[in-house]
Structure formats: C-alpha cells, structure tokens
Symmetry: C2
C-alpha cells in the first residue's frame, strides 16, 4: 500500500506549523544565556518592553504555575531564575507583532551575569560525582573470570560524539487561547502528552484544559520527544499572557544551540574469553554526558546498560552506568536511545577480541550468539521471536561476506577496501522502566458510509505510522484501506499513550487499533449473527464492509470504541540489574563495505547491508525506508557528524559547518527483513524504527580496521582522524 | 453550578466563526434567485470571474459529487441547475480575496431566467396534491361519535405564521483543506454530522475525510439543524476548488431570505364532547407549508400529528396531516418542531369548547387530562413519569388562577385584563420516526491529573448542554466539576449522535456520558478492589478522585471509553398512526395574564407562569433560562412575529421590520419545575428545551378572549389583528 499521507506532502499541502497563521498571531523570541554557567544577578526588561509592537516581555517571575518543565525529574527550569547552566538556556520571552520587533526586543533585555566556571566533560562531572542517573548490572563472578589465567582479557576505551537529529523542520509551536477557557498548542512534536503536562504545570491549570495537536512534523528522531516541552511551555506562557495566538519557530542555529542531542558517550570495555573464543565475562563502565538537566537521561542510560553485553551469552557481568551532569545543553532521546554508544564499544571490541583470539569476527560472534533458550546479561531467557541466526545468514549472503572478507585487507595502493560487520539486538518498547507509559490507546469511529476515523496517541514523524495503522485497521475490519483515516494526534482524543519512541508504535498503537476494531467487530458479529462478516470472507469484497456497517447502524449498534493495549509484564531489579526488561527484541546485523584513501584519510562507503528480524513486516516499503534512513543516520554519526565546542558553546551550529551525509554519500543500501513472529505483536510485528542505526558505526570502524589495520576507538572517522591514526 | 462556558463568552473570548481567520482566507458570496419559480436558461460567469481578486466562480456544473443536500429525501438541490423553486435559492458561488470583490462578482453573474407561476400557499399546494409528506392517525369510530346527536360538536380553522429563529448569530462557515487530504469545516451549527454527510455527498468523498467542528454558536433554535448543510456545502465546494480557507458568513438579510423558518400552519379542528364535558372524538386536518424541498418536513409534520390530541383522553381519532410543497423557502426545524402549530389549535379549541359547554377552561381540561394508565391518541399507555396534575396545580397556584380568573373578564375601560391557560405534552427525543438517529455517543478521556476531557456528538447552543453534561460527569465520577472539560463537538471524535434537537440532549448525551463514565468506573473498581471509590464516599472528598486516578494509571488501567446510549424501543404504525411513538413525555402548562387596549388593539402581557414536569432538573438555573427564553419566543410568535411576502419574496428581512420581543416586552416570568422521575433518564431527567415555547400562543389568545370576548383563530395577535377582531 502507498503512504496515505504522501500526496499532501508531495503536493505541498501538508500543514506544518509555519503554514498555520491565525489572524493576529504574535511572534515569539527567546532571550538565551551566552554563558555555560553563570549567576544571574538581575534581569531588566523595560527597554525591551518599550519596543514598538512588543506585547509582553516575560521572565521567570511571570510564570503563573511552576517554573519547571516536568520530565523524569523536576530539575529542568523553564526560565532561568538565579543561575544559568548551559549556553542557550532560556532567560526571557518576548511576544511582538513582527519577528523583527521580537528579535529587536530580545537584544534589549539586559541580564547581569556573573560567569562561573562550568563543568563541561564526562571526566569532570564524574570526578564531582554529579550524576543525573546511575544503574548497574551484577551477575555471576566477574572477578574469578578475569583472574583466571587461562582467559584472554582485553580492555579498551571507546568514545562517541554528540549527534544532531538534523530533522528537516526545526522545532516550532503555535499556542492560542482556545475560546473555551483553555489553551491549544499546535506544533512540530513527537509526544503530545509530554507537552500537555509541561504546559499544564507551567500555566498552573488542569491537563484537560491544555490541548496539544501535532501538526505535520518534519522529522523527529527523538529530538522532538522531550525537547518540545521547552518551546511549548514558552509559547504557551506568551499566549496565555497576551490572549493572542503566539508562534515560536526556531532558526536552525537556535535549534542546534539549545535543543537536545545524542549524548556523547564513553565506554571502558573489558572482556574475558576462553582461548577457544567463548566469552566468560565483561566488566564495563558506561558514561553519558547528560548536560545540565535530567530530562530523559536515566532511561537513555538504562537502555544502554541493558544492552551492554550485545546479543551474546555472557555468564559473568559487571556494568556500571552513569549519566553525568555538566553545564551543557541537556541531551535527550535519539534513535537508538543510549544503545548506539554502547553497541559501538561492544562491536568494535568484539572485532578486537576476535583479532586477539585469531578468530574470524563472524565465527567469534556466532560462537557466542544468543538463541532460543539463552539468557541475556539481565537474565532474560529468550523464548520467542529470535531470528538472529537467519538475519546473520541473509546479511552475510547479501554482503557476499565470505568471498569479499577473504579478499579484502590486502590492498596496498592508495585506496584500500575493507568489510566490517556488527550485530545488535534491541528491546522493543519502553521496557520495565517506563511501565506506566507503556500502554497505548486508539479511538475508532465508524461513519455511516463505512469510512473510519482513527485517533491514536502516538505520532506520524515520517516513519510511516499512518500507513501501518491504516493497514492494520483495514485488515482487522475487512475494508478497503481508502476508507481508513488517521487524524492528527491530539491529547483531547485519547489518553496518554506513551511517547512515539522506542520502536513501539507499530506494536503498541497497532495493538490498540486492533483492540478498538475488535470491540466493534464483536458487536457487529452479535448483531449480524449468521451472516458472513467482511473480515471473514474468503476473498476481499469491497462492498461487504459498507453493507455490514449500514446493517448495524440500522440496528443502533455502537460503531465506535476506545482501544487499549497493555504489554506483557516486564521486570528489572535495580540492585542486580536482573529481570526481563523488555517484552521482546528485534535482532539485527549489518555489514559495511568501504574504501579508505590512505593519503587523505577519506572513507567512502560502497555498500551497506542491514538485516532485522522484525517479527512481521506490515509495510515492506516503509520498513525499507526505515532501514535506509537509519543506515544513513548511522553512517553520518560514524563518519562525519560532530560538534566542536568552546567554553561550552557549540561553534558549528549550521548545516554549513555541521556536516551530515547527502544523497551523494549514499552507498548501495541493501535491506534484509526476517520475520520470526512475536505472538503478542500485531500479526507478529515487533519494531524497526531505531534498529537500523544502532550497529552501523562499529561496522564502519571494523571495516576500516580490515582495510588499513588501524582500529579507531572514537568516531566520527573523519578524514582527519583516520589520517592521524594512519600516521600515528 | 455556574455555566463553565460563561466566562469566555462574557469576556468576549469565545470563538465564533467570524473570530477565526486563517491567513489567506477567501470570502464567499452566493448568487441567489430573485424568482420564486423560474426556468434557468443560461448562466454566464465570465464577467464575474474577471473581477480582480476572484479565485473562482462555481455553478452546478462544477460540483465534483452529487448536486444535492441530503436530508430525509434527496430532492434538495445544492446549486440550482435547470430551475429555481424559491426566492433566494443558490445559483452560483464565488470565492474572492475580499468580501467586496466577492459581492461585486456576484452581481456580475448573468442568469437567464424564464419566470414561471409559483405555488405559494398551503391551499394552492394542497389542491395540486403536491405533498412533501403525509401522515394519519385513525383510531376508534369518529363517525359514530360525531353523528351522535347527544354530543356537542365544534369546528374551527386555526392559522399560524412563519417564525424566524432570530438567533443572534447568522449562519456562517469556514472551510479549508485539512492538510491530510480531507476538508475541515468550522462553523455555527447544531448538527455537525448532518453537515458532514452533506459535504461528503457534494464533494464525492468519504465521510471520514470531512471533519466538521462546531465553533461557539450564537443560537440555533432548530434553525441550524438542517439549514447549515447549505452554507456548509457551498463553502466546502469553494475551499475544495481553491485549496484555500474560504469563509461564508451570511448577512441578516441573506439569512432571513434563504434560511429555514417555522412552517406556517393551518389546522381544521373538529371536536365532539358529551354534554358533561368528556371528549368523545376529534377530526383534524393539519397542514404545514413545507416550502420548495422536503428537508425535515416529514418529521416536523409527524410530531404535530402525534400530539394533535393534546394531553387529553380522546377515544375516537381521525387526523390527517400534510406537508405541502410550495415555491417558497424550505421550512425546517424550530423549537417545538411542528407541535406549536397544532397545539395552538388544540388549546384555543379547548377554550372555545369549554365556553360552548359552559365549563371553566381548567375544569374542562382536568376532566379529560391524561394520567397514569391512560392512552394517548396513538394508543401509548402512560406508565411512567406523568406529573401533569402536579404541574397544573402548581402553575394555577403561582398564577393565582382561581382569584384572578374569576375577577377578570369584566373590565369595561380601555385596558381590559384577561388570564388564559394552555396545556401541552411533548414526546422527548426523536421518537419512532428517527430511530436510527436516536442513539448518542460520548468520548471520555481521563488525564493523569484527574482532569477529564469529554466529547459528545450533540452541541452547545446556549441552552446549557456543557453545564448539564459537566454536572452529570462530575456526579458519576465523584470529582470536582472544575476537572471536567467538554470540548467542541467534532465529527471525528464520536459517531453520529443524532441532531441536537427534540429536547434530547440531556437525556441522550447525558446517558452516553454516564455510560462512558461507568465503563471507566468498572475498571477502576476492579483495580482498586476494597478501597472506597470517589463516587461512593459518604461526603464529597475533592482529593479522592485524583488519587484514585493516579493509583489506576500506575496499574495501566484504561482511563478512556466511548459511551453509547440507545433509548428504549418506540413504535409507529403508518396505516393507523398507533404505537408508542416516544420514550417518554414532558408535561407542561402555562398561563398568560395580559391587558388588551381596546382602542389600539395592543396587548401587553403582565405575567406568564410556565410549568413543566421534566423528570429531574439537572441544573435549575439553566432550566429556568430555558423556560424564560422559550416563553419569550412563544410570546413573540403569539404577538408580533410574522413575515410579509409578495410573489414569494419576504419583504421584511431585517430586525428593523421583522419584530421580536425585547427585554422591554418581558412580563413577570414564573418558572415552575416538577420532577416525576423518568427511570431511563439520567437521574430521572427527561427534556425541557422546547416545551416552554409550545403552549404560549394559545394561552395568549385564550386570555385575549377572556379580556375582550373575541377568540382569535390566527396569530400573531398584533394590534392590527386584535383591533380588527374588536371592530369586526
């Protein structure tokens, strides 16, 4: 099926926040801290307020509710009061009749800062023991394993950089009084219910008075999970005060300076293996630079912790994970959610260990690979839907691994070829730490002509949710998909359905849609009795569904329902790190084939094969799109993307100096889909959104290592860094 | 409880259609027929299209779907094609950048008409047997009753005029592409689902692609039930064609010329009584002038038919009812819905018959009054909730009937006092003829802080729906009413819940809200087990509900539901007119005390007592508001409101020449509420919206008769008409 949302996007008629202009809209500007850390001694707004066209200048003193943006903890400040803790932190807000007047006024807000020494690095923060979160896994006897003289032990430190979400559309919000005594926000966002809570808290009103509607959103990738609560709160404050519509759309520079990013990571990875290549133990320290406020760091960190063993059997485990507070922009959700950082270490380390053991990297991995009946490092016994071996087999076949890996690694000219591999697995959904946010809802309303309106609490971000849920509903009801219509996500339609993250949308919203459809079907079956219902006809009959609807409406059958889906139980013991942390896992492997120019250090990727056991693929085209996009985002992180900072200030805050891959950098991308049905998933589906990104970077450094014999322990593998490694 | 929607209205922040201005909105104008009946030979739009700022000129040829506005039948034309059948019928549509350009272009559309002789009156239409609908009731042996020489027989013909709804806000719509491939209409309307169907038909798209959202609506009174489907379709056509927002707001003149009104009525009423005052038979012909198209005439007519006996025992019945087609504006729904016309006849006739029998009008009525165990003229046995006798008792007491009625009627000066009474009963809801539209839905969503968002398919028109449903939800859940929030009615939230008419909203949407709340409560009870739940605490504890919600959300309990309410069975046999046509009845009586100036014919009302058995009053203040407003609308119809037509054209189409009562005309209004619980209603409630209007006019003419000894058989009782009667 084609994407139902494609025509409006292709024809330029989809409505993004900057396409919506109610008459009388005011424009917002935000006054931001130039300091990473400073005491605020005074804020004077009189000059700004005097600018023609300015309606209001607001500071923390003008907040009617609480001056926080609620997330996991309540430490995130909405408007800086006594101090600022990162460059770009919001200090004052302006609403004016034009963007120009708003910027002019912003420049006239006088803030007296007393600069203080900032904490900027993981090392500094760790030394101060200033943690946003800490987790651990302790299993078996690592000490014995590491002290066994028969075991081969290898330890390395790996580092990964910031990554920008680089969504096409920057953050943007439009807030206005709704005429019913509440406030309406429309904007570019992933998680409407997060913004709803934030606005209710900052305005000091009931959540039901805050209605958040997602407009067409030009990409999220996690960057619009927690972060939009800031522009949302700011915009709402201005609209609530002025009683006018207020629009706040970030420039790219502003978005890069003050919005969340992938946490910079550091991993000390130590592994003990028997000489024949069986992993005996791991001992890992895992640090993330969380930035100034907690936001989502505890759960990002936790996902990394849980996956710290890779998809392998590891009997003895010690992992300590730390999210370190620093005076930098708060990092947050990003495709992979704490897992890419640790998987980079795991999979680079697997290659290094294989080399040390004299084993082929695939052989070493297969020897230790998790399979049915095995336990993960948290003690989760794998009992359903583990297609890992099939994924590996197919990926290696498509990559022509055996022929190519043999023949590479012996080039002597300027261009040297390498082929790298990396495996990963990914716990689908929020898992044990996000239990109360796990369920999802769907509202289904059938019209007299049989067309169906569906609202869910998760969002379309370009990933294909609308397509997949349309297919699921049509399949359930036995109707033509053209009759199904997903409306924009809106907090007033369904309860909090958790965030649109963690590759959970097909699984959770898919099951909620099915549940809602099933309620309606049950009522229809009991009314239509012996008649053949549309979802049970041998072949699809387009006229069957509208006819059945008409018959049921004639009998006053309720043709609407709220669906609900609660996933199976998950567990996690905070003292031992043991439990069944996720309901199921997506299993992945990818290879990267590339060429290194030994004179310039430039790496060019020729081919990337990316395979995933997703349980069941609902829409193959959309699934392949996810694989392609995720792979490219992985290549960007692996090869070119990084931020340069000075005194906590990001120096490269535009796409002219923050480099991401372009279509010209795209290698041959080969998606591989494997389907080992997950019984609780809709038609067996699990999740796919994040997995294609996760293991790209280690495959890249593993391929570089094969090509030129140098193992990079830090990414991105820019020409400079590769050249340096070659010439060290 | 205070009205939750009052503050925004009082402070001018409620959003009406003309308060909503998306950037780039185009303005619509409609080219209308100046003829009551004409053949259309040609329509030329080139000059209009050439006006600067005009985006499109559309005629019937440009309709992508079907050229009809679907209502009960499919005879209502969206844009006149070959002929026009009433003055003001739409012929062409224009969208332009300014209102001025749109009007200028409208004047330049050239239509070649060949005028034809129009049919304008009930008599002409009846003679041609051109009926939009016909119904009958045949019960017992009327012939025997009328031919019995012992019986007193009286026959009269009664006439009632057009009435304007005179809502404060004229009809208005704003249509725009929704960015998702569908269309969004916001507007001033009573029945969003009617407009949804109309727009889907005219655009030729699925209903789920048409989203209708009610904005704050400045009054409806039935006038925004069927009629908004016309401006809705027109506006949607222009927005669909131009891909821009298009606004169509009627001027008052336009609204009066082309929008629906109360059907002019004519009733031939013949009654036979035993000499001791027991009604033996009625023989009635009942005509309504339906106008050019069927719209809602069949059901308006039917309600009049069913109530043609008044709240009395009548063993032998013959009623024939006709909705006559004429070349005039289609008449439609209006508070009372076909009942005021016939009740005027019934209750004027009851007084005339009492006089003939030498009985006091109250004594005569009480002798024949329906009570528990009696049957209506359709054979409906009254078994529940009949508080008629208590209503009468209380109304007469408040009116000081016995003292005053005795003392009036003997004035000899210029000002002569009279006291009149009239009884009525009213079948609540749509009844047997609207079965498939009877059910109603409610969507209830509970937020994490315990605040509750409710969406229903019926609408707030100023009548107090939001207040009443808020109270019902708060009562059900045991929470503070400030936590309850009704959102605007929106077709994408709930299935068709039937129209907001027939005094059915408290009953049907009230029960749907309760049903939705009960589903949630059941889940909460099964989770909270032995704990005392908020709705069962001995005294109201404001903190109990939020605490219970938090506990249930922690356990992933589904805190949302779609409620549904299907009323008890109703029946109607079309051949005999027998059955139980409504689920229950509201019982009413009112008195009017007035003075007639015998020199000028002017009638001044001093006091109106209006009593109703509503089962249970949910909000007394709102209920009294309904009684006051309905009474005044009844006085306007009785005394001053009428249209003057020439060749089918309404001559008085402004408030300067169409007169309605003002605050200065308001007498002492005394509401009386009686509560005989209706078991199926929410807390026993029935309906009240329409009943206060129904029996005002006959009480007025009965009071005039007492004052001056002249029985008017036609209203309004303008000074001219009263003077004429006095001087005949």
């Amino acid at each position: 099926m084609r994407r139902p949302d494609a025509p409006e996007k292709v024809q330029g008629r989809a409505l993004y926040v900057d396409d919506v202009h109610p008459a009388g809209t005011l424009y917002a500007a935000v006054v931001r801290s130039p300091h990473a850390h400073a005491r605020i001694k005074a804020i004077r707004t009189d000059k700004a307020a005097a600018v023609e066209g300015v309606w209001t200048v607001m500071t923390h003193r003008d907040i009617p509710g609480r001056n926080i943006i609620p997330m996991i903890k309540e430490d995130w400040i909405c408007l800086a009061a006594d101090a600022t803790h990162h460059v770009g932190e919001a200090v004052a807000l302006i609403a004016a009749e034009t963007r120009e007047a708003a910027s002019q006024a912003a420049a006239l807000v006088e803030v007296d800062y007393e600069p203080l020494a900032p904490v900027l690095t993981i090392e500094e923060g760790f030394e101060r023991e200033d943690f946003l979160a800490q987790w651990k896994i302790l299993k078996g006897d690592t000490e014995a394993a590491f002290s066994n003289p028969e075991h081969v032990v290898l330890e390395e430190v790996y580092r990964t950089p910031y990554q920008e979400h680089a969504y096409l559309e920057t953050n943007g919000m439009l807030a206005m009084p709704d005429g019913l005594g509440g406030i309406l926000l429309q904007g570019s966002l992933q998680c409407p219910h997060y913004v709803q809570k934030a606005v209710a808290v900052v305005l000091g009103i009931e959540m039901a008075k805050v209605r958040i509607v997602q407009l067409c959103t030009g990409g999220g990738f996690g960057g619009k999970e927690d972060a939009p609560s800031a522009p949302g709160s700011h915009c709402a404050l201005l609209a609530w005060k002025t009683k006018r519509p207020v629009k706040l759309v970030y420039t790219r520079e502003e978005d890069m300076i003050c919005m969340s990013k992938r946490h910079p990571g550091k991993v000390r990875y130590r592994m003990a293996c028997s000489k024949d290549g069986v992993i005996q133990a791991i001992d890992v320290d895992y640090w993330l630079n969380g930035g100034a406020y907690t936001t989502l760091s505890p759960v990002v960190l936790w996902r990394g912790l849980v996956h710290a063993g890779g998809p392998y059997r590891v009997p003895n485990v010690r992992v300590h994970a730390y999210a370190v507070r620093t005076d930098t922009v708060p990092c947050g959700a990003f495709r992979g959610f704490g897992e890419p950082q640790i998987v980079f270490a795991v999979e680079a380390h697997m290659d290094a260990m294989a080399e040390r053991l004299g084993l082929d990297p695939v052989t070493f991995r297969l020897k230790n690979l998790l399979d049915y009946g095995d336990e993960t490092i948290t003690g989760h016994k794998i009992e359903t839907s583990c297609g890992m071996r099939e994924v590996v087999e197919k990926v290696l076949e498509k990559a022509e691994w055996h022929q190519r890996h043999q023949s590479f690694g012996q080039d002597t000219g300027r261009l040297r070829r390498g082929l790298g591999v990396a495996f990963s697995y990914y716990g689908v959904g929020l898992g044990a730490l996000g239990k109360h946010l796990n369920p999802a809802a769907a509202n289904v309303v059938v019209s007299a002509d049989g067309s169906v309106t569906i609202a869910v609490g998760t969002t379309e971000l370009g990933q294909g949710m609308v397509t997949v849920l349309t297919q699921i509903a049509a399949e359930e009801l036995g109707c033509d998909p053209s009759l199904i219509r997903l409306v924009e996500s809106d907090t007033s339609r369904v309860p909090d359905s958790g965030p649109t993250v963690a590759s959970r949308t097909t699984l959770m919203s898919g099951n909620a849609v099915r549940n809602a459809c099933q309620q309606i079907k049950e009522r229809m079956e009991s009314e239509l009795k012996d008649q053949v219902v549309p979802w049970k006809t041998a072949t699809f009959q387009p006229e069957a569904w509208p006819a059945a609807v008409a018959a049921c409406l004639g009998k006053c059958v309720q043709m609407s329902s709220q669906g609900w889906s609660v996933p199976p139980k998950t567990t996690f013991d905070v003292d031992t790190g043991q439990g069944d942390p996720y309901v199921t896992y997506t299993w992945s492997a990818n290879t990267v084939e590339l060429t290194v120019d030994v004179e310039t250090g430039e790496v060019v990727v020729q081919r990337l094969v990316s395979g995933h056991d997703v349980g069941k693929i609902i829409n193959p085209q959309t699934g392949e799109g996810q694989i392609e996009g995720g792979s490219m985002q992985g290549l960007g992180w692996a090869l070119v993307e990084e931020h340069h900072l000075k005194d906590g200030r990001i120096l490269n805050n535009q796409f002219s100096n923050y480099i991401i891959p372009t279509p010209m950098d795209t290698p041959e991308l080969i998606p591989v889909i494997v389907e080992h049905r997950y019984p609780w998933g809709p038609y067996g589906a699990k999740g796919l959104g994040e997995t294609p990104m996760i293991a790209v970077a280690p495959a890249v450094v593993n391929a570089i290592a094969q090509a030129v014999g140098k193992r990079l322990k830090e990414i991105p593998a820019t020409p400079e860094r590769v050249w340096e490694a070659l010439n060290a």
